[in-house]
């Protein structure tokens, strides 16, 4: 197999942009009509993902270790989408047809053989990873929505009972699919530590134009059977560090932090935890009563609410990074941050400038795994 030749042919094909995945999926669906059901109505995002993933695979072709880790993740991820081993052959046929179509005269038997071998290698890694994963856990969990509580204009708290029981570490998140928006998955943090009855809380902000958040929180979502992917994410408590803890949660970024606070409560010895919870307006502090109750029960927990847009607010006002840095020096703390990207980035930069080492900071990160 000639990696150089492969890369060259791919970069030529990739010049056609969106045409390429468009052709690929149409070819796949014409030959395998059943497979269409595994995809959402709009394929626009899907096509971008395919081209990006292909590009990533082809460019990493000579870095086998990195590539196989990526592919194994991809293989496991595809279980919840309903991909099975047989689909891989169908995809191969369509992929080769697509590349042949766009290569035109430059498509040779040697190049065909290269692509064939390359694809088989890729598929083998993905299938093997999926198979290994199959022995450990289901492709997805079914979840019944048992409560949906509107807490503010655009924030709801959803309670879900998964079936079977879903084990996770507090701070992790899961991909969720609503039956009202088939084949669209979105990541949400679980907002509680594991409970005896296994129920999960999700804090969901209604995104403007967001299809899944709307489906989950609007209308009569109670009773809906949703699907839940396996838990992911590395924003979990470092219980070995011995340092006190600073938590910064903006809006529904509170969710993973609240789960971690409950985790701390279950530890034999608790570090001091300072939790800053910020919103634009006071009504965005949608879970403050519950947090204050927790703080009243535990002397190691200090909760500081802050509001950025309403200066009449009786508590702390100003941007969350401002409020946090006003409250002292945090260089000796482990820091856990979650919230809108710009806010998280600003807070990280400010804390770094004030001397908190990078490795003590833990930020929400989903990486590439959703594709």
């Amino acid at each position: 197999m000639d990696a150089r030749r492969l890369k060259d042919s791919f970069s030529k094909v990739a010049m056609y942009g969106d045409e390429v995945p468009l052709f690929f999926y149409s070819d796949l669906f014409i030959r395998n009509p059943d497979v269409r059901d595994l995809f959402p109505i709009s394929m626009r995002a899907q096509r971008d993902h395919l081209l990006a993933a292909l590009g990533q695979i082809v460019s990493a072709f000579d870095r086998a270790d990195e590539l196989s880790a990526f592919l194994a993740g991809l293989g496991r991820d595809h279980r919840k989408f309903g991909a099975i081993a047989e689909h891989y052959d169908a995809v191969k046929d369509s992929l080769l047809t697509t590349i042949e179509h766009f290569c035109g005269d430059e498509w040779t038997p040697e190049l065909a053989a290269d692509w064939n071998t390359a694809y088989q290698t890729i598929a083998d890694v993905m299938i093997a990873a999926a198979k290994k994963d199959e022995a450990v856990r289901p492709a997805f969990w079914k979840g019944s929505v048992i409560a949906c509580e509107h807490r503010s204009f655009d924030i709801s708290v959803l309670q879900v009972r998964p079936e079977p029981r879903l084990d996770y570490v507090p701070g992790q998140s899961v991909a969720v699919e609503s039956p009202r928006r088939p084949r669209l998955w979105r990541y949400y943090s679980i907002a509680n530590a594991p409970r005896e009855d296994g129920t999960l809380d999700f804090h969901i902000r209604l995104v403007d134009g967001g299809s899944v958040s709307m489906a989950l929180t609007q209308g009569h979502s109670v009773g809906d059977e949703i699907r839940i992917g396996p838990p992911v994410g590395a924003l979990t408590l470092d219980t070995a560090s011995g340092r006190d803890i600073l938590m910064i949660g903006a809006s529904t970024g509170l969710a993973p932090l609240k789960a971690m606070v409950e985790h701390v409560a279950a530890l034999p010895r608790q570090p001091q935890v300072h939790l800053f919870f910020g919103a634009r307006y006071a009504d965005g502090l949608y879970d403050l009563p519950a947090l204050e109750k927790l703080a009243a029960e535990h002397d190691w927990l200090n909760v500081v609410p802050a509001v950025s847009k309403d200066l009449r607010y009786k508590g702390e006002t100003g941007s969350l990074p401002d409020v946090v840095t006003r409250h002292g020096n945090w260089s000796g703390h482990d820091v856990y941050l979650a919230g809108p990207t710009e806010l998280v980035n600003e807070a990280t930069a400010r804390l770094t400038a004030a001397g908190t080492p990078r490795q003590q900071m833990h930020v929400e990160d989903f990486g590439w795994s959703e594709s």
């Binding site: 052709f23 990541y187 403007d208 969710a255």
Partner: protein, 234 residues
């Protein structure tokens, strides 16, 4: 097979060319030689007729080939112009176009719903801040009126009393009572009027939202989910 150009009245026809006349230029001014123009127009007319005939012939040829492709899928005979693979590519194109149309519908619906919620959000912020200002105004006015009432009650003559100390206590209490009564009343009246106004707006809002959602929003679509699309805070 009918010919498309028969229906197309606006286009230049050979007859138009033949019937074309031009005003004669005034004496002494420069102009084209009339016979040359006529000759040229005859050429143009001939050319248009030729083109139209060619177009009809080509159109008929296209139709003939199209029929052969369709029947070719069944007969598999020598007469098939396109191979099976080309027919497949044709099918792929058709499905691709259909998919792009669907994508556009979804994207439009999503954009619409985005605009709708965005507007609702900013409208809400506006209403809240107006309400806050209004509340401040009510409070201020009530407090002002109550102060006036208290002063009035202090100044009003009172019945005889046992001691000056008791008397002053009493009038102070009376003044405070008058203040509170006046304050409470003004505040209640304003608040009632304001709340009723708000309730009416909310009813109207709900009614309109229900209508517009029923009419205009189809099943909304998906957005990208690759990588850090965020979690709960999306």
């Amino acid at each position: 097979m009918t010919v498309a150009w028969h229906e197309d009245q606006k286009r230049l026809t050979p007859d138009d060319v033949q019937a074309a006349t031009f005003p004669v230029s005034r004496l002494g001014r420069r102009g084209y030689d009339e016979e040359s123009v006529r000759a040229f127009l005859r050429d143009v007319e001939r050319e248009i007729v030729t083109l139209m005939n060619e177009k009809v012939a080509l159109w008929n040829e296209v139709e003939r080939l199209r029929r052969r492709i369709i029947s070719g899928a069944k007969s598999n005979g020598d007469g098939v112009l396109f191979g099976k693979e080309d027919a497949h590519v044709h099918a792929v194109r058709i499905l691709s176009n259909a998919q792009l149309t669907a994508d556009r519908y979804v994207a439009d619906a999503q954009a619409y719903s985005h605009r709708l919620t965005e507007e609702a959000r900013s409208r809400r912020d506006e209403i809240l801040s107006q309400a806050q200002e209004h509340a401040d105004m009510i409070l201020e006015e009530a407090s002002e009126r109550a102060r006036e009432a208290a002063i009035a009650s202090l100044n009003s003559p009172t019945v005889a009393s046992s001691s000056p100390q008791l008397e002053s206590d009493r009038s102070a209490l009376k003044a405070e009572l008058a203040y509170l009564r006046a304050f409470g009343e003004v505040y209640r009246t304003h608040l009632r009027a304001y709340t009723e106004g708000m309730l009416r707006s909310i009813d109207e809002w709900e009614r309109r939202e229900a209508q517009s959602l029923e009419q205009t929003v189809p099943d909304p679509p998906g957005a990208p989910g690759l990588g850090g699309n965020g979690s709960g805070f999306r």
